[in-house]
Subunit: 143 residues, 2 copies
């Protein structure tokens, strides 16, 4: 295992980009948070260091996505959330009732993926999928 940050250094240097403390902080924050909106990343970063501007967070996340370090998904009406690309691929289950976000293994979508491919020629991006509905707890309270 390479020490943390090594991957970031390499990917940035390859393209003639620079390793800044802000970029390292953002990447660490994402790893710690799991899923997070740009705003949440900003708050998390500021709890460690003095302060990183929100614009920089946005620009950094966009860059990281281009570099393949993070991915984003749209969970409902709010902001997009970002998560480390290193973490296992998963589906997002967003509860309309309580807003909780659960994760499901992408294997549960295998059948769907196959059907969309053959019937529509469409190649779904399962990691990016957000599925809304009602979680176990909220299903009960409705019925």
């Amino acid at each position: 295992m390479s020490p943390p940050g090594t991957d970031l250094r390499e990917r940035l240097h390859q393209r003639g980009l620079r390793v800044t403390p802000q970029r390292q902080l953002v990447l660490e924050a994402i790893d710690r948070l799991g899923h997070a909106t740009p705003d949440a990343v900003c708050a998390e970063v500021q709890s460690v260091a003095s302060g990183v501007n929100l614009s920089t967070i946005y620009r950094t996340l966009e860059l990281f996505e281009k570099l393949g370090l993070v991915r984003h998904a749209h969970l409902g009406s709010g902001s997009a959330t970002y998560h480390s690309a290193a973490s296992a691929a998963h589906l997002h289950l967003v509860c309309d009732g309580c807003g909780a976000v659960d994760e499901a293994d992408i294997a549960v979508a295998q059948d769907l993926v196959g059907r969309l491919r053959s019937a529509h020629g469409f190649t779904p991006d399962v990691e990016h999928m957000a599925i809304s509905g009602l979680c176990a707890a909220c299903s009960k309270s409705v019925s």
Copy 2:
């Protein structure tokens, strides 16, 4: 078949709400457009009548959703899009490459729905699902 607009009248009257020209125009616009953002609905309405305020469009769409006349889905990063609830239920396939929106029968998700129910106790809202990926045309151009 009842004449168009009858359904709207009934549902509004039932709740002591009023039938206004704006509400009729919005419903007609949604029917004509298929899928549309609030902004697009506004433009479509204004192409027929003189003008309906955007705030009114938002308030009207929210009301219609409560009444079960329309539904909305989040297709990618942009605004939510609304469509008639009367039209057949479907999944939205959004191409990351060209932005095209295709529709798939909800039957293709039957397996996924069952798995999420049994494994997570989660009841997905298939109509609301937006699936991103690459359409047939864009898949080719990438490879």
